[in-house]
């Protein structure tokens, strides 16, 4: 692309009308709430797509992305990828993982040898799911009869694909215990690549799917031991949040746990849960 065209694209400004269109779409189909101040964010995020597609203005881009052609070409999904936030890291909010390890797993009694089921709802690029995998694998070493399945879903196609590929930058594992790093990560042979990859044994434990949390889920009721749905609900509007929280609770076994982000509170949405620790809830029998 010509440099001037690039500059021209970066100078595009989202109009209020266009923003309202995006806002309505995000709320109606994803349950994601965008306050008016997010116009800057939407603007800066969609510009990337404008550059990629070479479309010179927002109006044309939005019309295209939401048209059947746009859906067919996948531009629609790319737009959603951009508009959703994919912040995650290994061992993010470690209190939760400590709680999983020291409290939930230690007290866990396998019923009729069923595997322990844990779901990373809103997994983004998969770091959370693989962190769970490391914790559970470590636990499994001391408990040979223990088995587990990790499910990980996200609305973003590209994020899930990235999660599935399990290839990350080396910097992402800086904070992880060296012992775990050696055990669960491979490093690229090409030193210049600076990439790492999760080992196959751990990758096989995680099942990735693309899923919109506002939609219905494929899990059976009362089937999951633990759900992590952290820093995902913060993007939803109140009504969607209530809906999603109740659906998540339905899927957890009585006595199972629901983890939300440290800044989130969900006790107001359901009577079926009680708080055991900040942002950790247990389903009441």
């Amino acid at each position: 692309m010509d440099y001037n065209e690039t500059v021209n694209i970066y100078n595009q400004k989202l109009t209020l009308e266009e923003f309202t269109k995006v806002q309505r779409f995000m709320l109606e189909s994803l349950g994601i709430k965008l306050s008016p101040i997010k116009i800057v964010m939407v603007n800066s995020r969609l510009i990337k797509r404008l550059k990629k597609t070479g479309i010179s203005n927002f109006k044309d881009y939005l019309d295209y992305a939401m048209s059947p052609e746009g859906k067919q070409s996948g531009e629609f999904e790319c737009m959603i990828d951009e508009l959703t936030t994919h912040k995650t890291e290994f061992f993010r909010e470690p209190e939760h993982f400590n709680l999983l390890k020291d409290r939930i797993l230690l007290n866990y009694k396998a019923e009729s040898f069923k595997p322990f089921k844990i779901w990373s709802a809103g997994c983004s690029t998969g770091e959370e799911a693989y962190t769970m995998g490391m914790i559970l694998s470590e636990f499994q070493e001391g408990n040979p009869y223990f088995d587990f399945n990790i499910y990980a879903t996200d609305i973003s196609n590209s994020s899930v694909m990235k999660a599935f590929r399990a290839i990350y930058n080396k910097e992402t594992i800086k904070t992880i215990d060296q012992k775990l790093v050696k055990k669960y990560f491979l490093i690229s042979k090409d030193i210049t690549e600076n990439k790492i990859r999760v080992v196959k044994s751990l990758r096989e434990k995680v099942h990735f799917s693309i899923l919109n949390l506002v939609d219905d889920y494929f899990f059976q009721n009362d089937s999951l031991d633990v759900i992590f749905c952290r820093n995902t609900l913060i993007y939803f509007d109140d009504e969607s949040k209530r809906k999603v929280v109740n659906k998540l609770i339905e899927k957890i076994k009585p006595g199972g746990y629901l983890f939300v982000g440290l800044s989130e509170t969900i006790s107001q949405y359901s009577k079926a849960i009680s708080q055991v620790s900040p942002s950790v809830y247990v389903k009441i029998n």
Partner: protein, 614 residues
């Protein structure tokens, strides 16, 4: 090496060749000219001679004929008889002879002519006597004339012979000229052709060398050197080309050095800006998430503030209620004390009644039989009084206890009232503080939003920077490519490494697969993963379609995008999950739900690029 330099130049060679030719031409010309001159010259004298000789012969013949005729006519007229003298005039012949001789003396008459002249002169001298007087002399005269005629006839014959000879010699000269021309011109042509062939050959060789050299330069090979360094124009061209090559090489080497530096700098700049960009992207994501979290916290604090205010109200009400209760207890205490006071009156009255009953029983004893009934009444009264007294005593004890308890509870309540007052005050303080927090968090929230906006803009700018730096790398790459067209060194030891562009691996990985929808199911294939790769339906085709649709203005609603049936998805994708899947019959939002388990067959192959950590 200026053009004024005189050496073995092409022009001198060409001029030399021309000189050769010219020389041959001039030689030929000279031969021809000489021949022609000779011919002309011999012609000219010959013509004169011939004319003169002819005139001489003709005149003399005519004169002798005339004389002879005169002589004969004289004889015939006068009947020549021995002694008769005839006069005749031979002077005219002599005159003619002298005249002709005079004229011919200027000319180089041929030898035979020269030889004939004295004889003729002699004959004319003999004829010169002007009278004939006898037959004998007449005969002699006639004989002389006959001799003269014979002489002239011979002369004429000789002249003819001479003419014949002359013509033969002329034609010989012609042959000579022709031969000369042929030989000399052939030699000249041969020599100059030979010379030109040699010259052209050397020229061609030189030009071909220069051509090859310039073609090598054109094809970018700057390692070639030119062989022909002769002094001619070709050599000059070669020298100039060599100079051009050296200059070009120098320039290119410095450009290459520069471009390598630019390349390194720009790829460094690029990777830097990619890092900044991805950092800014992560930062933006983090900021976005912090903002969202902060909104949540603000929401919570708002709720807390509301609750605190409410609690404050409740505490205030409770405080008022308890104060009221305390007041009531105070009045109850007063009432109980009053009761206690009143009980002592009852006690007094019962004591008095008892004394009175004792008095009454004494009086009844005095009244003996009459007072017996009265004594029973008095006894009953006494018992009543005693009962009343003991009850009053009990009441006294109880009421004393009651007073004590009530006093205690009044004291307790008073304390409680104080505590409640404190509590209410604290709660209202909390409410106030919460409201303040609420305000502060609003401030923080809006600042954070502001910060977030800036971060988003920075991220966008970083993205732009990264994109531009990508362009820069591409530009320098193409510069490098352009330069690499030229071969500057015989063997290039160092090979310029291609810059590693961030994300390339990811794109390589991702490029291999894409989700394709077919028969309600999503398939992964190696053709395309994401729309931002090449083979998506282009925006332009979409635009043209839109434009054509706008013309029609049809009300037709485009068919909804087909999404996989959820049942199918479950059956196909989660069949291994111990049959724990719930089949969902209906789906509200069809657009994004996939529920497709990701499973790519080539995923494990990527492990080849990785190894165990040390």
């Amino acid at each position: 090496m200026g053009s004024n330099r005189i050496g073995n130049t092409i022009s001198s060679k060409l001029i030399l060749g021309a000189i050769f030719f010219l020389f041959a031409f001039i030689l030929s010309y000279l031969i021809v000219s000489k021949g022609l001159y000779d011919i002309e010259k011999s012609h000219a004298s010959f013509q004169q001679q011939q004319l003169q000789a002819n005139a001489f012969i003709t005149d003399l013949t005519a004169a002798s004929n005339k004389l002879s005729a005169e002589l004969w006519s004289n004889v015939a007229n006068s009947e020549f008889s021995g002694s008769t003298t005839f006069r005749y005039d031979a002077s005219s012949i002599s005159a003619i002879y002298e005249n002709s001789k005079k004229t011919m003396s200027n000319l180089e008459m041929p030898d035979y002519f020269q030889r004939a002249l004295p004889e003729i002169s002699n004959l004319l001298k003999q004829l010169g006597q002007s009278s004939v007087n006898d037959q004998q002399s007449l005969n002699a005269k006639q004989n002389l004339l006959a001799q003269l005629a014979q002489k002239l006839l011979d002369l004429n014959k000789q002249e003819n012979q001479y003419l014949q000879d002359h013509l033969t010699s002329v034609s010989n000269i012609h042959i000579k000229i022709r031969l000369g021309i042929i030989i000399w011109m052939s030699i000249a042509v041969f020599l100059s052709t030979l010379f030109y062939i040699i010259t052209i050959r050397s020229l061609r060789k030189g030009i071909q060398g220069a051509l090859k050299f310039s073609e090598q330069i054109a094809s970018g090979d700057l390692t070639a050197t030119v062989k022909n360094r002769s002094n001619d124009e070709i050599g000059q061209i070669n020298n100039a080309l060599e100079k051009l090559k050296l200059k070009l090489k120098d320039t290119l080497i410095s450009i290459k050095d520069f471009s390598t530096s630019i390349m390194n700098a720009s790829s460094e700049f690029n990777s830097g800006s990619q890092i900044i960009s991805s950092g800014a992207g992560s930062q933006a994501s983090a900021a976005e998430e912090i903002t969202a979290a902060m909104e949540q916290i603000a929401e919570g604090i708002k709720q807390s503030a509301k609750n605190a205010t409410e609690t404050g109200h409740i505490a205030k009400n409770a405080f008022e209620g308890i104060q009221h209760g305390a007041n009531k207890v105070e009045s109850a205490l007063a009432v109980i004390e009053d009761i206690a006071r009143k009980n002592s009156i009852i006690k007094e009255i019962s004591y008095q009644t008892k004394i009175l009953s004792i008095n009454a029983s004494v009086e009844a004893a005095r009244a003996a039989e009459v007072g017996r009934g009265f004594a029973v009444v008095a006894e009953e009264v006494k018992r009543l009084a005693e009962t009343t007294q003991s009850s009053a005593t009990e009441i006294g004890i109880v009421s004393k206890k009651g007073v004590e308890l009530t006093r205690q509870s009044a004291d307790d309540l008073r304390l409680l009232v104080d505590e409640f007052q404190k509590t209410a005050e604290l709660v209202s303080q909390i409410a106030e503080a919460s409201n303040e927090h609420n305000y502060t968090i609003d401030q923080i929230n809006s600042s954070l939003q502001e910060l977030n906006n800036i971060t988003q803009q920075n991220a966008s700018s970083a993205e732009e920077l990264a994109a531009s730096s990508d362009d820069l790398v591409k530009l320098t790459q193409s510069l490098e490519d352009s330069i690499s067209y030229f071969k500057l060194e015989e063997a290039q030891v160092e090979v310029q490494e291609e810059p590693v562009v961030e994300n390339e691996v990811h794109e390589k990985v991702v490029n291999e697969t894409y989700i394709r929808e077919e028969n309600g199911l999503f398939h992964f294939s190696k053709e395309r993963m994401f729309s931002d790769h090449e083979d998506q339906p282009s925006f332009s085709s979409y635009k043209s379609k839109i434009e054509s649709e706008e013309k029609e203005i049809s009300e037709e609603i485009p068919a909804a995008v087909k999404t996989p049936s959820f049942e199918t998805v479950i059956e196909n994708e989660f069949i291994d999950d111990k049959k724990e899947i719930k089949v969902v019959k209906e789906r509200k939002t069809a657009i994004h739900q996939k529920g497709v388990r990701i499973n790519l067959t080539d995923n494990d192959n990527l492990d080849d690029q990785f190894e165990k950590m040390k």
